[in-house]
């Protein structure tokens, strides 16, 4: 799946950003390779979401560079970056709560295929079909006509990601796709997700707190710590690193005795 010889899809160098005195990014260097699934782990406040926010144009870094397919995307607005092929999903699902799930999906399809159509219906046959096919792939067809705010957390997460996928991104950044999902649904959600993304040939970066998920689905793992990347490599290697075990996984298992801020995945 992964093509290591190809040039990296996304290349970040020396990213820096501080909020007041807190360094959310303190010299981030990272290459995302074509076709890989890269997991980002680390305690809360380490700057994982900040990295996604900088890559998608929501926050501007104070220093460093980000290149996508060899071209700088610094200074572009979120919507310009999206159009170049970088999608994202959110820790708190960002759905249109007064629309049905189907309409949410159809709006995402329209966003790609042509939103500026004032008098033809959104749910025209071809878009409705595509939206339904998308929902089917994510296992959401049964709730297609429910209002988005009536779904459970797992379904909302999937719908949120489905909307990002409808835009046909080459790179998808997912912020904690499994947080808040009930433990019993979690593996099902991830399996669905991975299957769809592999089929679509999407390169994925995802922030994750569940080490089982990371071990099973990630090609590589990047460990975030205080705005820096503390370790990077295949899961088997990184997750076996004693320092990583102590600082990241240790608190996941033992409930934050180490003085670090509690990881958000502890409740899973």
């Amino acid at each position: 799946m992964r093509t290591p010889d190809a040039p990296p899809l996304l290349s970040a160098r020396g990213l820096r950003l501080a909020f007041g005195g807190v360094k959310a990014a303190d010299g981030i260097d990272l290459d995302v390779l074509q076709g890989e699934f890269l997991a980002i782990i680390g305690p809360n406040g380490a700057g994982k979401t900040t990295f996604i926010n900088m890559t998608t144009g929501y926050l501007a870094p104070q220093g460093g560079s980000i290149a996508y397919q060899g071209q700088s995307i610094l200074g572009l607005r979120p919507r310009q970056i999206v159009r170049r092929g970088i999608g994202r999903s959110f820790q708190l699902p960002q759905l249109f709560t007064e629309h049905t799930v189907l309409e949410n999906a159809a709006l995402a399809v329209a966003a790609r295929a042509g939103i500026w159509s004032p008098f033809r219906r959104l749910l025209r046959p071809e878009w409705q079909e595509e939206a339904e096919a998308l929902l089917e792939r994510f296992g959401l067809l049964s709730v297609a006509h429910a209002r988005a705010d009536a779904l459970n957390e797992g379904a909302r997460k999937l719908a949120d990601i489905a909307m990002a996928v409808a835009l046909e991104p080459r790179l998808l950044l997912m912020d904690e796709p499994t947080s808040g999902v009930a433990a019993t649904e979690k593996m099902k959600v991830v399996e669905t997700l991975v299957r769809v993304l592999r089929q679509a040939g999407v390169t994925a970066v995802f922030v994750e707190h569940d080490m089982d998920v990371v071990a099973r689905f990630a090609d590589r793992v990047a460990v975030w710590s205080q705005g820096r990347i503390a370790a990077l490599g295949p899961p088997a290697e990184v997750l076996a690193d004693p320092r990583v075990r102590r600082e990241v996984i240790g608190i996941e298992a033992a409930g934050a005795p180490s003085g670090l801020p509690a990881g958000g995945g502890g409740h899973a």
Partner: protein
């Protein structure tokens, strides 16, 4: 949150499985019945023809308020577009008396103003959106009032000697022509707004209310979505203004005053923001009541409107259309 007018669940014009076809059919049937009833009243009670024409014109302007309500935005200044259309007629009628030219011209000028003002106000939401619109309309009002040499101030301008397709028919025919024009345009704009609301642009408008960030992250500029709706609403306001000017034949700065804007918002909430039919139901009810009540209660008229508005918002959020459609659907089911 169910007591916000624009959120009333039964008021969505979206197709839902099952109830969809029946809802649309009901709306169409009511539209036809309503149009026929209006014609009948205008024929049986000639003194109401004028009132109904004004009501239809205002209904067209209220359609614009309804569009913005979909995005969760209230404009307290839309009378500025009404006044733009009306003053276009007043200024140009002496040189271009043709109604069929003045009408699109008034609409076009309001559309232009809407684009300029819109570029500024769509950067804001909620409080700022509402208040900036109010402020800008008050600017227009004071200009119309103060630039006496141009506008004759509060005396206003009389509109005389209009022609229709080159003819100047007798007064009664002119009244019928204006009534027919208003009714026809009401139907056209009503259908356009209905289609617009179901279109991607209309649905994205609703998305601005609930999750604007998501629109941006889908590559859709939310401000442009709102700008199109705003410009469309300004166009309808302008067309309504030309109709008002050509019907009442007298144009004053009061058309741009906050009370006029307040009336439009009042009608939108009274009629219910759920359907393109609501503005017309609201406008007809409003104008008919005013004919009989306003003369006796001139100094308390705004007070009554305000009290009713409070009542509708707090106790009957679906407006007249909401109550009506809930009743009818309940009976049909």
């Amino acid at each position: 949150m169910s007591n916000t007018p624009a959120r009333h669940p039964s008021a969505s014009s979206l197709p839902r499985l099952g109830g969809a076809a029946r809802g649309a059919g009901l709306e169409m049937a009511l539209t036809l019945i309503g149009a026929l009833a209006l014609i009948l009243i205008a024929w049986a009670a000639p003194w109401l023809r004028f009132v109904l024409t004004i009501a239809l014109a205002k209904g067209i302007a209220v359609l614009g308020i309804l569009l913005l309500l979909r995005a969760g935005q209230v404009s307290f200044g839309h009378a500025m577009f009404l006044a733009t259309g009306a003053y276009t007629v007043a200024f140009l009628a002496p040189s271009v008396p043709e109604a069929l030219i003045l009408l699109p011209l008034g609409g076009a000028l309001a559309l232009g103003l809407g684009l300029v003002v819109g570029l500024f106000v769509v950067r804001y939401r909620d409080i700022f959106f509402g208040m900036l619109n109010l402020a800008l309309s008050m600017v227009l009002y004071s200009l119309l009032e103060k630039l006496y040499s141009l506008t004759k101030g509060t005396d206003g301008i009389r509109v005389a000697g209009l022609t229709f397709a080159g003819q100047s028919p007798p007064r009664e025919t002119q009244e019928w022509l204006m009534f027919g024009l208003a009714l026809g345009l009401a139907l056209v704009f009503g259908l356009l707004v209905r289609a617009y609301l179901a279109s991607p642009m209309g649905q994205a408008l609703k998305g601005i209310k609930t999750r604007e960030t998501r629109l941006e992250f889908m590559g859709v500029p939310a401000r442009r979505v709102l700008l199109f709706a705003y410009a469309f609403s300004a166009l309808m306001g302008g067309v309504a203004g030309t109709l008002v000017a050509m019907t009442s034949r007298h144009v004053t700065p009061l058309l741009a005053y906050w009370t006029s804007s307040g009336e439009l918002v009042f009608i939108a909430i009274l009629g219910g923001a759920g359907s393109a039919l609501g503005p017309f139901l609201g406008a007809v009810a409003f104008e008919l009541v005013r004919v009989y009540a306003a003369a006796q209660l001139a100094d308390a008229w705004q007070m009554i409107l305000g009290a009713v508005l409070l009542g509708v918002i707090l106790f009957a959020p679906g407006g007249v259309w909401g109550i009506l459609s809930a009743r009818l659907k309940g009976r049909a089911a």
